[in-house]
Symmetry: C2
């Protein structure tokens, strides 16, 4: 079978789409003008012909050979994710851990056959949805104790199988990407309203397996909350949970697979809780002179019971580099939405709270503009990332969550550690912060580093910055990830963060469901 | 140490409190007048002197003897829960599976010592919070493969250790009962707002271990949602999860212990998410001629995004027997509350929806009265239960949840099965239904059976009714419990409901954390 090979093997999106050369030049100019970066070089994207992959160590099983591909493009596309490290390695044509082949199962029977074969042959199975991992979750870096590795791309499991309008739910296949999913729900007036930044190229199964963060900035923020039931293929067989609106019957079976990152099995379908498409909307941007005023206002809003759908706070640097503002203020982007009732009263009250904390609405421009600018920037972000990399600029993020009581010290220490590391490593550069989600008990801060790198030193420089920042995050009571997952990249900090006995429990679950240890080895737990 | 032995060993609450003899007579009259039950006998409550417990098979360890009690009252108090079966067995002085002794640890060190000793000596450990289980969760019926059983009563672990007003959270010991907990949070203007019917005699640890359902009828309904971090003593050591507002780092460690019913370890402390005490309130009762109109109205409200704090729907029989109405209508008790903003607009919109489905506000009496009558009935319920039992009346409940699309058929078949079984077994009797919690994707119906029993046949009669009803619940896609837990009682249906491979995974977790299999054996999983 010839796979649909239209997605880029390097960078974001489809071949021929994304940032143009002139956009990359504009980006370079903007980095010079806004952040003072000079002498930016520009490297061409890698060409497929430059890439030399190691010879496949295993061949697809005969019965599934028509569902598999081992051409360079397919293997390269399934080697790296979408982080800075992935992009830099790609630019250098370092595709060191390619899958030996890629499987594109057409249905669950194919999938069971692949998993059975892999368990028998001791070949690692790496689930692949949209490929948007920034935590090395889809990279087949599985160690030497496997005969090989197969990347299992779920793109053909992309149907909405059943829609239940009474319960506002749908049974959806795990390989369905964001836009496909919304297209298929639109005729019913329904929406999952789950719009991570990776929306275009991430899948339902990936969102659930990684506990992704979605559209709503408050209340039901993560994929976890929208799962009604799951269907999971493990090497030991099928797990199908019961479809229920809620359930108090013992430990939650769903929650054992949500966040398991492919280490226990492959999620093939999920019943998901949907929303009516909103008909009432309100949006506003609030400016604050100081960041502390701003986050204290957000804290009050988070505890008000107003539950805004959008409550993104951008600090001064984030407002500047995103183009949402000029860097003289922090900006809070607020939104309310409903399919049932007017939301103006909620917005009015939220703005009243914001004003109590020193927030002001910019008088000379309509409120929606900054929100729209921010939204454009948000969706364009993944495309621009490859531009930064080609310009030799480190542009990378880390995200976390902590309780409000810790936040002042947490933020100061994390910013300090990150800034110091940026200065030490890169001389120039900025560290920006935004809140992606907020809870009554604490924010989920998301930090962006933008700094000029030395040629061929980007990975070492970033590694040093990441180490300092992550150590500060852990030391000050944060989590190593709020919604980017653990993957292989965050393991050192995750291993510190989780209770040892919980790790032991999780390993025993893995031993039971995946005795051969072939399911995505290296993420979360090491096979026993 | 002499334990505080003031709680009843049979019935609800403290000795000398609860229903008076005249109240029990009134109840009998009311059952006659309203439901037509005649020839009700009245049996005296059991006396401690009537109870013969088997000799203790094991003695407390010497170092902890001052924290243990083996007197008849203490052992009897820790033998049975608060279900109909418990009350009937108690009346008959059938205390067949008493703990060999009761431990009252003063602190975590005592608790660790007890668990260590029990694991070494192969003595079953049965955690005991408020003792309100209606699913045989605290009954030391552990099988014959243990040398004995100790009931570990956490009543001395009742402190609020830390309050974080910034994050609206508190670190609370697991043995804290509802009223103690609220008393200790009140000075801070905070509240857990978790008011199960068992509030007076159930504990924080019990709520978490059983995934209890709380005050809020919508949005955050179960104890699960309020847990920020947990501290659990397992036979293999301590598990302390990280305090975070949210977290996407792999499978949730908290969720592996929430709902574990003491089978993996003893929850000793939890950081809990709190609420500001509400200052804005609105309440109303809406009458519907037909139950279908009523639940369709509730469905619409559940999907409106209004998130009422109270949204209890009583069907005609429930309204009648609770005294909230006269049985000619179904009654929806609606409530909104906020510590931040007026809730009248939300109530107005909810009432508008209710009217669209045929609901009406009774004109001649203030809206609050039925809500207040319902509330009084709700809190009095546990006390009245012993009255029914003494009158020889089966008054028992079962509760579940299902999706809206299934509900019409589900409800018809469950009601049919229950009514038929009641008619077959008891001749007379009613089956009533209310919704305790509602979700956008389905309700949590709670069924009450009231029927006259034959003398000494109550247990068999109820067993037949329960079997029919539970089979219908499972057959029609419901859960065997929404918030009463699995315990030992629901195991036959729970074992059908959960995926087999999930059961295997859970057993492997138990083997890892509790290799001797001493933690509450019989609930959820059987030790390997």
């Amino acid at each position: 079978m010839s796979p649909v090979a239209e997605r880029k093997f390097w960078g974001w999106g489809r071949e021929g789409e994304g940032v143009s050369e002139s956009e990359v030049h504009q980006l370079g100019d903007s980095l010079h003008d806004r952040l003072g970066f000079s002498d930016l070089r520009l490297v061409d994207p890698p060409r497929l012909s430059d890439i030399r992959l190691r010879e496949p160590r295993v061949q697809p099983p005969a019965l599934l050979v028509h569902r598999c591909a081992a051409d360079t493009r397919s293997r390269a596309e399934h080697t790296l994710g979408k982080s800075l490290r992935d992009y830099v390695r790609g630019l250098r044509a370092q595709y060191d851990h390619p899958p030996d082949f890629v499987a594109y199962p057409a249905d669950e029977a194919d999938l069971v056959a692949i998993v059975d074969w892999a368990a028998t042959e001791r070949v690692a199975v790496v689930p692949y949805g949209g490929g948007s991992s920034v935590a090395d979750g889809i990279e087949p870096r599985v160690g030497d104790s496997y005969r090989g590795a197969v990347s299992v791309d779920l793109r053909h499991l992309d149907r909405v199988l059943e829609v239940d309008v009474e319960s506002r739910s749908a049974l959806i296949e795990a390989g369905t990407l964001g836009p496909q999913l919304e297209d298929r729900l639109r005729p019913y007036g329904l929406s999952l309203r789950f719009f991570p930044q990776s929306f275009e190229f991430s899948s339902l199964g990936g969102w659930i397996a990684t506990r992704a963060g979605g559209h709503y900035a408050t209340m039901f923020t993560q994929a976890d909350d929208f799962v009604q039931a799951l269907r999971v293929i493990t090497p030991q067989g099928l797990v199908q949970t019961r479809r229920l609106p809620s359930d108090g019957a013992g430990v939650s079976a769903d929650r054992m697979f949500i966040g398991s990152e492919g280490s226990l099995g492959l999620i093939t379908q999920a019943w998901m809780r949907l929303q009516d498409r909103p008909t009432h909307r309100a949006g506003a941007s609030v400016h604050f002179d100081g960041f502390e005023q701003a986050w204290r206002g957000v804290q009050a809003i988070s505890q008000s019971g107003l539950w805004p759908s959008n409550c993104r706070l951008l600090d001064h640097n984030e407002a500047l580099h995103s183009g949402a503002g000029d860097g003289t203020t922090a900006i809070l982007v607020l939104g309310f939405e409903s399919a049932d009732h007017p939301v103006a009263p909620s917005m009015d009250r939220a703005l009243q709270i914001a004003r109590e904390f020193g927030g002001s609405l910019p008088p000379e421009e309509p409120d929606e503009d900054e929100a729209r600018r921010w939204r454009r920037f948000f969706l364009r972000g993944p495309y621009l990332k490859e531009g930064y990399t080609r310009l030799g600029v480190i542009r990378e993020t880390f995200e976390t969550a902590c309780t409000w009581d810790r936040f002042p010290e947490f933020h100061a220490e994390v910013m300090d550690a990150a800034r110091k590391a940026v200065a030490d490593e890169c001389g120039a550069g900025i560290v920006a912060c935004r809140f992606t989600h907020v809870y009554p008990d604490g924010p989920a801060p998301y930090y962006t580093v933008i700094a000029p790198a030395r040629e061929n030193a980007e990975l070492d420089q970033w590694a040093a910055i990441k180490q300092s920042a992550s150590d500060a995050v852990l030391r000050n009571g944060g989590t190593i990830t709020h919604h980017h997952a653990v993957g292989r990249y965050h393991r050192p900090w995750y291993d510190q963060q989780r209770p040892d006995l919980f790790a032991a429990a999780l390993r025993s679950v893995k031993s039971t469901l995946d005795p051969a240890g072939v399911m995505n080895p290296g993420v979360l737990v090491d096979p026993v």
